[in-house]
Symmetry: C2
Subunit: 292 residues, 2 copies
């Protein structure tokens, strides 16, 4: 029996099949071009596996996750050209006759981290996973379940207290200007410094400004959800950067809530090589199979 | 059979017993003085009712809600003099031999509103209830359950984007200065204008500033939880004020998420006379009874 995973991003689709232990058996990376071409290639990858028993899709968005909606399974209004109002789940379902789970990319990631870490921590039943890359988003698990009743969370678009040395930067979010995504997503480096983030040394002051904002995101998630753990992934994040975030977070929190171990509480993903979403998808597909 | 409710506030305790329909049969308001005196009077009120079957306490805080903690049932580090490290639940339990539910004041309120509104809306299974009064706090229900794994939420202490006309106000939160509570709690009127809030007409610009901040709280709750409904209660809130909040909220959200009916989405409590917490307590006591 094989479990399938589609981690659908705006740049690439990571397709994989895995075994009962959620270990990858085969995988393929498909460039995100048109919906037609990309979804056809995706379907062809999975058709090779006669033993495919279930599949989970963790997609970029925004997507429709409300089961009662007629657009359930669609990518809705996305800035990604050609992909708005695309019936992603329906297209896959027509060609692959297995149970299919449908959720956001960040939900796939948070679920992978949750399942992986809960193996060694029986008390873990809540977690927030932020990705800070081209965009900013978060997946949230409370009491073992995803959060999001009227849709999925959009924690990338919260407002923040501005850093005193960053009052004049307008932010790059086309909807909100200086929301979290508008202030810390990867492309803000080009907007602020006219350089790629990877070319900006970690002692540049812009990283302190970024850390101040990301620490506010960590603070808000802490005060809103009181989760067991916050995980930060995505291209902008490194352990050195998270050290700055931890320091700002403790400064902002000012002892109001007791955090036992800050290095453990605010952490990079436990699954290496951006594998959290694939692992999460395997687990979600597996659980779907147990239900049907 | 009677159900008991303690809404324990920093100023007064509202004690009540209710019937199966969650209607109040008798009640008493007890001034919050010392823990000894207040809890003794509280116990004496409930001792009068031989038919008391279960009780729920919705308390001011911070409180310990983690069942595995040795301090479960305690008020922890509260600014309220004399009430830090008080074994509230344990003291009540010693004198009243019924099942007792223990939660925060705002959880009591959100539960009351949730149960009351769900009677007429089968799809309602998430809600955020903010109280804006002497302090600011929020109770949150997701998938029918309270949020808060490592403790209860503290949404009063998030950071916000400052209003351009309010850059120099330091805020009044002793822990965080200009967090939400520090910027919009009732006593900020004295701090900003040297007047009580009730004496500040609703066309004073300070209400626009307040609305800008409360709208950010609404925005954050929306993006974090995607709830069916946001309710705002507490002494600072009026329907006129909420109209300002709704306008600022729509401005900040900028159409990013579709909200069907803003007047229904952001609303004052459905239960009149500050009765949400008592109603919620009756429901929580009733459910506790069904479990034991």
């Amino acid at each position: 029996m094989l479990l399938g995973s589609i981690e659908a991003g705006g740049t690439k689709f990571v397709c994989a099949v895995g075994n009962n232990d959620y270990q990858i058996v085969d995988s393929e990376i498909i460039k995100t071009t048109t919906p037609d071409e990309t979804l056809t290639k995706t379907i062809n990858f999975f058709k090779k596996f006669k033993d495919l028993a279930a599949l989970s899709i963790a997609s970029f968005g925004p997507i429709e996750v409300r089961k009662q909606s007629s657009k359930f399974g669609y990518i809705t209004d996305t800035p990604k050209e050609g992909w708005s109002n695309v019936n992603f789940l329906g297209t896959i379902k027509k060609s692959l006759d297995v149970p299919i789970y449908w959720t956001t990319d960040v939900n796939g990631s948070v679920y992978g981290e949750y399942i992986n870490l809960a193996k060694h921590d029986v008390n873990l039943n809540s977690m927030v996973y932020y990705t800070i890359g081209t965009g900013v988003g978060a997946g949230i698990i409370i009491n073992g379940q995803f959060v999001g009743d009227m849709g999925h969370p959009e924690l990338g678009h919260i407002k923040l207290k501005r850093h005193p040395d960053d009052q004049n930067f307008a932010g790059i979010c086309p909807y909100h200007g200086d929301c979290l995504e508008g202030l810390v997503a990867g492309p803000t480096f080009e907007a602020r410094l006219n350089k790629k983030g990877k070319d900006v040394p970690l002692d540049n002051h812009v990283w302190d400004i970024m850390a101040y904002y990301v620490a506010q995101a960590a603070l808000q998630a802490t005060l809103a959800f009181r989760p067991s753990k916050l995980i930060f992934g995505g291209g902008v994040v490194s352990e050195t950067f998270l050290n700055k975030v931890r320091a700002e977070f403790e400064n902002l929190l000012n002892g109001y809530i007791n955090i036992d171990n800050i290095d453990d509480y605010i952490a990079i993903p436990s699954i290496v090589d951006n594998g959290s979403a694939t692992y999460g998808n395997f687990a979600l597909a597996d659980e779907l199979l147990k239900k049907v």
